[in-house]
Symmetry: C2
Subunit: 410 residues, 2 copies
């Protein structure tokens, strides 16, 4: 394998033209799109339009004229095909954490008599924290049971109210078999909540094929909606009107602008909306999602696997003997769209790479994470990133004190 081979792969890549739709800064190989997607050019244009025309000129009238009021449902409908859902099963709103509180409240309410939320001990912390907060709120009648990834299937039982999992592990990139685990949970009478934050947009997700009950996901990672973009949630049609979720804000009401004194939950998934939609952020997310839909998800996945396999192979060929250890599954079928590499000074190693323009991130205790994002990454980026990694390792750049000083956000 040579750099020229990578260039040839890029020349033949049918997704390659999408790269020009992103405004990528020069001198950077961006491998952190699994944490914060880069700026799509259309998002900048859309936000400009929303501010200069819809807000500035339209003012309050834009709730009707620019259809701001429909944003939660419209952005939800745009996300739906990316996650194998129907348009009327998804809304964009709030943060992933807040949305998880809503759907987990629903899932527990639909399972009277069952007391356990079963999850993975290495699940993304906010998911576990929200479960803790909800359990405390409900009077500690429930418990959060955490097991290792390999023990999940065996831990589902008659007391399992909800199986709550993140589809792709944020540290390792390991991917659960959504269909198999959902089927198993259903066989035991449990409901399933999937967190798609680290998978949707990079990995084919088919909630309908898996017969999933609930899901939540993040707008600012693979969906490229911008820093702190609104999140989304999915409620299977069969569950939507069985429960009125506790964050019953006015925009989830059946008739918000009738200003009625009593809450009447809206039809279908709209009752999962709470407060006024964040128009600037929702508009940005809508544009980013529409861009993502220009790519066919099977093609995105095929390129993701090819890029990650290439990245792993090049590291093994060119950086051997430097104390690196592959943390992500080698088998692409069990891996999301990131490559995690452990190194004894993983934090400093990542800082040294960032100083050289290869931007990934670090996750405790020792993991350098590299996001694989086929919409804008090239095969040659994998070559160049490994080239710089090799250089950093050979020169022991990670051993410099300035790279060991921890910042607030790692």
């Amino acid at each position: 394998m040579t750099r020229e081979d990578c260039q040839r792969l890029d020349a033949a890549d049918r997704l390659a033209p999408l790269r020009a739709k992103f405004d990528l800064p020069p001198g950077v190989i961006y491998m952190d799109g699994n944490s914060l997607g880069p700026l799509p050019r259309a998002v900048k244009e859309r936000v400009d339009h929303v501010i200069a025309h819809e807000w500035r000129e339209g003012l309050i009238r834009s709730w009707n004229a620019a259809r701001w009021i429909e944003l939660p449902q419209r952005v939800g409908a745009a996300i739906a095909p990316i996650i194998g859902a129907a348009a009327h099963e998804v809304v964009a709103a709030d943060s992933t954490s807040v949305n998880l509180f809503k759907v987990l409240s629903a899932a527990l309410a639909l399972q009277p008599g069952r007391t356990a939320i079963l999850s993975e001990e290495d699940n993304f912390p906010t998911d576990l924290y929200i479960a803790e907060g909800l359990i405390a709120q409900l009077g500690a009648m429930h418990r959060l049971r955490l097991v290792g990834a390999d023990a999940i299937a065996g831990a589902i039982g008659a007391d399992t109210a909800v199986l709550m999992l993140t589809h792709v592990n944020y540290r390792t990139g390991a991917m659960h078999d959504m269909a198999a685990l959902t089927r198993l949970a259903h066989e035991h009478g449990a409901l399933v909540v999937w967190d798609l934050s680290h998978s949707a947009g990079a990995v084919p997700v088919d909630l309908h094929a898996a017969d999933a009950d609930f899901a939540v996901g993040c707008g600012y990672k693979f969906l490229n909606g911008g820093p702190g973009a609104p999140a989304y949630l999915y409620v299977a049609k069969r569950h939507q009107e069985r429960f009125s979720q506790p964050l019953s804000g006015w925009l989830g009401h059946a008739a918000p602008f009738a200003f009625e004194g009593r809450y009447r939950p809206g039809a279908g998934v709209s009752r999962y909306i709470c407060g006024t939609p964040a128009v600037l952020a929702m508009s940005a997310l809508e544009e980013a999602v529409l861009l993502m839909r220009e790519a066919e998800m099977r093609a995105v996945r095929a390129k993701s696997v090819a890029l990650a396999d290439l990245f792993i192979r090049l590291i093994e060929e060119r950086c051997s003997g430097q104390g690196l250890r592959l943390v992500s599954p080698r088998d692409a079928a069990k891996r999301g769209s990131q490559v995690s590499i452990a190194h004894v000074e993983g934090y400093a190693l990542m800082q040294a790479l960032i100083a050289r323009g290869v931007i990934g991130d670090f996750r405790p205790p020792d993991i350098a994470r590299f996001g694989i994002t086929p919409l804008y990454q090239r095969y040659v980026d994998m070559w160049d990133a490994v080239d710089i990694l090799r250089d950093v390792l050979a020169g022991r750049a990670w051993d410099r004190p300035e790279f060991k000083r921890r910042a607030a956000v790692v």
Copy 2:
């Protein structure tokens, strides 16, 4: 009183220069800043900078380099002086509805044995809906007791866990005596949650002087933070560490980037943060709040009263016999910063005004609302608005069918 008199008042107005800091569209008299503030020029510049530099160039690094991670506390601290709070008692986050759920959860948890949430039957609906949702979540051990505004003081009793009120009524503009009602509630052992959405930024609010327990408020009305801007919440220092609120997302954790498996609430009010901050929207709000702080709140209030008194007087002088009825208190001391006028065809009347460039809004059953916003309104705007109102009434423009067709958002 003549138009020239109004022009003389504008010439002498020390707040007048602030109008140029807003990008107001031509041909519009904007009287809906109590519902959606107009665009501050600095907000456009700030959002441009966040997108083009912090997001586009800085990418993930901006969480540290641009201090995105501090936004909830920093914007909260900027809002604090506007509401008479200390910097470490306020965070900006989520929506008003979500924040109300957090602080109401806290207030109820701190009042074991007391069962009533006491509120006003004409409170803004989302406040009542959130209370309903929380009560249902907690197992219906609590109840929501609603009384008319005049009956509140007499209804506070030994069973009152929380008095939950909106400082200024969204329909009528009537303002509660925050200090007196808080004192009375405390005398009965009740805690108080104030919703400042319709007052903060236009009316002096002093939570410390009132010894308030909790408060929430909206970023997109008088604070001009943009459509669907993040909201804020206040927790008095004495209550902050007595409870861990249920929306315990990762950014309220004591060490979010340690990715610990168990939730440990952050110090002070930071535990009221939940998910990842909406960076674009938070940055917009920060800029808008900093602009508001250029004005001294006593001067803002004085001009608000003068504008509203003028508006009412001109309507009475120039639109008599046209079926209008003043709904807002005539006594400025009991009024927030809006003037509400009833008309049998209030909806159509407002549409006719909007068609002529006077933008207010409608609230059921028959109220035309006019927001008073001293940062950018002029005395001459009051004259011109009443001039157009007189014309619309004289020509019975409100009687046209096109003005009676209701839009989705009223």
